[in-house]
Symmetry: C2
Subunit: 83 residues, 2 copies
Amino acid sequence: MPKFMDVHSGFVGVTEAQLKEAHERDLAIEGHEGVHFEHAWLDPESGKVFCLSTGPSKEAVMRVHEKAGHPTTEVYELPIEVD
Amino acid sequence: MPKFMDVHSGFVGVTEAQLKEAHERDLAIEGHEGVHFEHAWLDPESGKVFCLSTGPSKEAVMRVHEKAGHPTTEVYELPIEVD
């Protein structure tokens, strides 16, 4: 299953509880699109959020975020990774 | 130890072997700055690379990448995460 990183802006000053709540809205509906959001990281100073997911396509990832109320068009497919 | 995500652009068409080689240049010198690069993901179509690391500061992360030959100024501190 392809892996994706998506990026959100505008989350300045967001708390851990608020990020958790937003993430849980994704988790509640992601199954409809065959997507799973694995992890999300927030920089509350710049307002950037990075979400790592698996799913069938970029568009599926975008649809989940849009329905959950935090749309983004910045989604990258990640066929290559190292650690 | 603070966690960071940094973003690189311009890696269009880069292969897994090339990403591994670039990542190993970070790993070879990261200890001088107290940084550890945990993971890197590449979208070879857009040329974006996302690197997850731990370290003492953004500036330390930037110094390692600069000395390894792939500087970036786009580094985000990630005090909040969910999964």
